[in-house]
């Protein structure tokens, strides 16, 4: 059974239909890349999977481990093992990174991790993502550079240990060095217990995080799926020849 299964999903934003019957399945241990031109509905899919209230599911299903989650709140989905690395991480003034992460870790694991153990894990991951100690006392995403925000997203993924991770344009706005750090982070987390869906406009990140499957999206539905070779083909030819 696929960990994440999307069946005939239709989604509207402010009454406008964006997804028009999308099917996609991601199993544990697999890495999928979802590509497509701007406006094809990639980010809409990411938000709809996570349960953002502005993205109204008008038909179809999102199944997590066989359970339809379309009626569940985002926090319930997260606690079932779903993670979304956001394209535009939100700044949260007054809430320290440490406090936020500890609350999130305890909420998703539904335990009360001892502070010491939590700090050890956090420091280790911060070192991996080359984030300075001083981030510990900073507020969530406040004043972070674009690259710092993306590194922090993947750091959260590392701390929360999800079973399905959706990475929404995590590569956008990153320079080569930051892209490497982020990609190495994702690669470290890949394994038999994690399914990854990388949403991207460009093939760049796929050179570092090699996908098992590549899908191309146009106007709210998948138009082609294939192996990693499809990404290379797209790099050469662009998207236009796949327009339905």
């Amino acid at each position: 059974m696929a960990e994440l299964e999307i069946k005939g999903l239709t989604v509207a934003v402010e009454g406008k239909q964006i997804l028009a019957g999308l099917d996609l399945a991601v199993a544990k241990g697999e890495t999928h890349a979802l590509m497509g031109p701007n406006g094809s509905g990639k980010s809409t899919l990411a938000y709809a999977i996570m349960g953002h209230p502005a993205y109204q599911i008008t038909g179809g299903q999102v199944l997590l481990k066989g359970t339809d989650v379309t009626e569940l709140t985002p926090d319930e989905r997260a606690r079932m093992g779903l993670f979304l690395a956001m394209q535009y991480p939100t700044e949260i003034p007054g809430v320290s990174l440490t406090n936020f992460l500890r609350t999130a870790v305890n909420a998703t694991s539904e335990t009360d991790m001892p502070v010491r153990q939590f700090m050890v894990a956090l420091r280790r991951h911060m070192a991996d993502f080359q984030m300075d100690e001083k981030f510990l006392s900073r507020n969530v995403n406040e004043g972070f550079s674009g690259g710092e925000k993306k590194r922090f997203e993947i750091l959260q993924m590392a701390m929360l240990a999800p079973e399905i991770a959706v990475l929404d344009e995590t590569d956008s706005g990153l320079d080569v060095d930051a892209l490497k750090i982020v990609s190495e982070g994702v690669n470290r987390l890949r394994g038999p217990d994690l399914g990854v869906l990388i949403i991207t406009h460009y093939t760049r990140i796929l050179r570092y995080v090699r996908p098992d499957y590549v899908h191309v999206m146009f106007e709210g539905r998948l138009v082609q799926s294939g192996g990693p070779g499809l990404a290379e083909e797209l790099e050469e030819k662009g998207y236009e020849h796949l327009r339905p």
């Binding site: 709140t73 985002p74 949260i92 809430v95 929360l160």
Partner: protein, 440 residues
């Protein structure tokens, strides 16, 4: 005293003074204040700005003035209760001082914590030089207080004395009626002290209060005033710092309880190089009406001020912040900044935020103001929820973060924990708060 505020007479004031055994100069001061009080009109919503947002009828003037202390069990706010080591403390219950103590070490260094009427006799020079200087008689209720204050606290920290432990003043409402407490805090030059003034109790009272703080040259005063009343108290107060050269007045206003709280946290920078920081948090819920009306007066050169007030509202209630910065023509090279932010947690809550500037000269280093009224940010909520944090917990984090910006600027014992603890209690007690809402 059988008189009410409404029918207060000169004779009533004289009787009050005589009964307290006050010296002649204080009796005369009260008499002058009574004259000023008589000459001023009662507040009228239709006249001027001062009462545009708060109906003066909320203050029942027909209640009898309480002129003695009540033998009631002493109550303390969570804030003051959290302070274990105190340099001294004084308690006013209704119309009388019921206890005043100063620790031996502080007493040895000349620190005075005393009933104001007693201090007026024992330390006439100290009291006379300060009483009425920070809060005079130019406003009806302030004049009323100086004319007829029934119980007063006097705190004096001599020059060069630095106190590590806070001094506490508790004002308690125990019996129904009208109470007119007055708190006078004086710091000599280069003195350093922290004073907590808390307001507790839940009797049906009209409280007309003055807290005046005179900060000597180069002195540092940390003053925390906390309104932790029950829902039957209507409180009008002037909380004012008068700052001498290079003095520093840091005031933190915490308004949580009371049916009506109308406070004027004012700052008088009358001398060169004076500095003031006015911080405030308020949590307004069902049935409450809160107004903070601040005047920061830059009346000398090289003075600086900084104001940050933040409030959250839930249920049917109203909170107004009105802030004015006045910079006089001779007050060159001043710097000031004023920020008020309001967080509306539920429908039916109403906030007003009115920043105001009167700048009379062009030689200003900095003068800014910021104001906002908004709801909890849905994007922020989503971000936290997407990390597995349930909505009530996410909202709590955001409200804490909102107030954290203010409490992080205060490094005084008990303040941060108490404020956030009280905010949490208020949030959880709200009947229809965001904390309990499910997304529809």
């Amino acid at each position: 005293m059988t008189e009410t505020i409404k029918d207060l007479s000169e004779q009533g004031v004289l009787t009050l003074s005589a009964r307290a055994g006050e010296p002649e100069w204080l009796r005369d001061l009260r008499q002058e204040a009574f004259k000023a009080f008589s000459d001023l009109d009662w507040p009228d919503r239709r006249v001027g700005e001062d009462w545009r947002y708060t109906d003066p009828a909320r203050f029942d003037l027909a209640r009898p003035i309480l002129d003695s202390g009540t033998a009631a069990p002493a109550v303390e706010s969570a804030l003051v209760a959290s302070v274990d080591d105190r340099a001294g403390s004084i308690r006013i219950i209704d119309g009388g001082v019921t206890a005043a103590t100063v620790c031996a070490e502080a007493a040895e260094r000349g620190v005075i914590v005393s009933d104001l009427a007693v201090a007026a006799g024992e330390h006439p020079d100290l009291v006379r030089a300060a009483l009425g200087t920070a809060v005079g008689t130019d406003e009806k209720f302030a004049a009323l207080n100086l004319a007829a204050f029934t119980a007063g606290a006097f705190v004096h920290v001599p020059a060069e004395v630095e106190l590590d432990e806070p001094l506490t003043v508790t004002v308690q409402a125990a019996a129904p009626g009208a109470a007119l407490p007055r708190v006078l805090v004086v710091l000599g030059h280069n003195a350093k002290a922290t004073v907590y003034v808390d307001h507790v109790g839940d009797a049906a009272q009209t409280v007309v209060e003055v807290v005046e703080v005179v900060v000597g040259e180069g002195a540092l005063a940390n003053v925390v005033t906390a309104q932790d009343w029950g829902g039957h108290v209507d409180h009008i107060a002037a909380h004012t710092g008068l700052v001498h050269s290079n003095g520093d007045y840091r005031h933190f206003e915490i308004t949580l309880g009371g049916r009506t709280v109308y406070v004027r946290p004012d700052l008088k920078l009358d001398h060169r190089g004076g500095n003031g920081e006015l911080l405030g948090v308020y949590f307004c819920d069902e049935g409450q009406h809160v107004e903070h009306r601040s005047l920061i007066h830059h009346n000398a050169s090289h003075t600086s001020s900084n104001l940050l007030y933040k409030g959250a509202l839930q249920g049917e209630c109203r909170a107004t912040f009105f802030g004015n910065i006045r910079i006089e023509p001779h007050a060159k090279a001043t710097s000031s900044d004023q920020t008020n932010r309001n967080l509306i947690l539920t429908d039916r809550a109403k906030a007003d935020s009115i920043p105001f500037l009167e700048i009379e000269n062009s030689d200003v280093v900095r003068c800014g103001h910021h104001s906002s009224i908004g709801q909890v940010d849905e994007l922020q909520l989503f971000y936290l929820e997407a990390r597995g944090i349930p909505r009530p917990e996410a909202a709590r984090l955001l409200v804490f973060g909102f107030f954290g910006e203010v409490t992080d600027r205060v490094d005084l014992p008990g303040v941060r924990e108490t404020v956030l603890g009280e905010v949490e209690r208020e949030i959880l007690s709200g009947p229809t708060t965001l904390m309990h809402q499910r997304r529809t």
